[in-house]
């Protein structure tokens, strides 16, 4: 197939949109944390953008998309991006240059591990954070992405569908967040009134750019423009809107006052919910899916935070993990062959349980690898170098103790 200029244009733009999501995530999180630790999370996301881009360039791309070694991991064909074609396409995205595909996927590989920054916030050592991100990419993300998205990956083989990363990205990073939060233990003062957000406008700036970026994230993941991308964009937008509305109503009901932080979290939930299925469902189904995912995630948040008392600071486990699971399983119910010919019909669309079974396996693997793998990685890092700052440093704050900088000065 010859390269298509329109598709390439769209993926170039989408690459930019997704790139911006990583700093946006930093603003979202920083605004919802205390002022004294807000710089540290922006540092983590922004530096993470640089470091994980380099890691993908050197190692990641070939581990995920290189010629598969028995469905387990990609070979070293494209180490350091060597040989990734400029003027020709790869089979993954047959109408755009190979480097365009590789660059786009870089942005996904950057943001995924960084989702965990919301869970480990306000107590993680800077150096340990760097090691965690790199180890997690190499041992969890690159393999899992290869299994689901790589040509010949074993989960792809058994028929798992994950359009823009419900399993590979949100389930894995969300479950990993819970594991890391457990290993790190709770922040001092967890459960008291002392951990309120310090700059909600900043958080909303982040949320708005995430919403926009997600248009590139989802509608770019088909690697073509046109009707498919158009439908994905609509599905994504409706998902976000309904997630926001559900969380807004739940916060209103629970506390008597409609909460803006709930609205922005709900929007993310909606976006995550439709991510794995965005190209396989109608906007009408996205409407209902986002409502259901909104409800589930809100109660998961309460469960983790209030019942299990896991200090996943910004609820990454609920917002991304649980919603990623919901959305990935939903593919098995509502994927529609009429919308997208590459996908079989889900259970509710008359397709039988096969797809649902495959999805369940994919989700299960991501949970085990994400939660289990992160537990192990975190414990090893904790053993070797310590994952958490000293108590006195936590009291003072990460911004000064880790970076000798303050977010705001008069």
């Amino acid at each position: 197939m010859p390269l298509d200029a329109s598709d390439t244009t769209w993926i170039i733009v989408a690459t930019g949109l997704v790139m911006m999501m990583t700093p946006a995530l930093g603003f979202f999180e920083a605004g919802l944390l205390r002022s004294k630790n807000s710089l540290s999370v922006i540092m983590q996301t922004f530096s993470g953008l640089a470091i994980l881009s380099a890691l993908w360039f050197i190692l990641g791309f070939t581990m995920v998309y290189g010629q598969t070694l028995s469905g387990i991991i990609g070979g070293s064909d494209w180490l350091f991006f060597n040989g990734v074609p400029h003027e020709e396409a790869l089979s993954y995205a047959p109408t755009i240059p190979g480097i365009t595909f590789a660059s786009y996927m870089m942005m996904l590989a950057v943001i995924t591990p960084l989702l965990m920054t919301g869970a480990i916030a306000e107590r993680t050592k800077w150096s340990a954070f760097l090691v965690l991100m790199i180890a997690w990419s190499i041992f969890i993300y690159y393999p899992l992405a290869h299994w689901v998205w790589g040509k010949g990956g074993w989960l792809a083989q058994i028929g798992v569908f994950d359009f823009a990363g419900g399993i590979v990205i949100h389930t894995s990073a969300g479950m990993s967040s819970l594991a890391a939060a457990i290993v790190l233990k709770r922040r001092k003062n967890f459960g008291t009134a002392l951990l309120l957000p310090h700059n909600i406008p900043l958080a909303v700036i982040g949320a708005s750019l995430l919403w926009l970026g997600w248009f590139g994230f989802n509608a770019g993941s088909g690697f073509i423009t046109g009707a498919l991308a158009s439908n994905v964009l609509l599905v994504t937008h409706i998902g976000s809107a309904m997630g926001a509305i559900v969380w807004m109503l739940l916060s209103w009901k629970r506390s008597g006052r409609a909460s803006l932080t709930a609205v922005i979290n709900g929007a993310l939930v909606g976006l995550v919910a439709v991510t794995p299925s965005a190209a396989y469902i109608t906007a009408q189904n996205a409407f209902f899916l986002a409502i259901i995912a909104g409800l589930i995630s809100y109660f998961a948040m309460i469960l983790f935070k209030e019942k299990l008392k896991i200090d996943d600071a910004l609820d990454v486990g609920a917002v991304h993990g649980v919603t990623g699971i919901t959305g990935s399983l939903a593919v098995g119910f509502i994927a529609s062959n009429a919308i997208n010919h590459s996908v079989p019909n889900g259970l509710l669309m008359g397709g039988g349980p096969a797809l649902l079974q495959a999805q369940a396996i994919g989700v299960g693997v991501a949970i085990i690898l994400g939660f289990g793998g992160t537990l192990i990685i975190s414990k090893i890092i904790n053993k070797i170098m310590g994952l958490r700052v000293k108590e006195a440093e936590e009291d003072i704050c990460l911004d000064i103790t880790q970076h000798a900088e303050k977010a705001y000065l008069e």
Binding site: A193, S251, Y298, M301, D315
Partner: protein, 124 residues
Amino acid sequence: MRRRHIWSDDIVKKIDAIIRTELLPIVKEQLKNTGINGMTVYSVSGWSRGKDEVLQWKGHLIVHDFIAKSKLEIIVSDEQVNAVIDTIGKYARTGEHGDGIIFVLPVERAINIKTMDDRDRAFE
């Protein structure tokens, strides 16, 4: 003609008043009419036994017990004390919980930096 403010070492007082932030504008305006020659405002947060401000987080109402308040600090001569207290009492008072407090401290010396004079005429 500018009012004359007599300040001398023995009769200067400092009046501090912690008031509702939302009433600050009106209190400030009214205080200007009492003949004081200056005032200083602090943004503080205050707690007192009783009803607190409520903020939510994750759908929980959290008693945000320290509420943003404003503090006024006014250096006055002894004879102005009552006028200032009356004005604050009049305009900073809603009768509801949270109106705040006034307290008066003795001042040993008060010096105008422009003139470095700590006696009469300091503020003219």
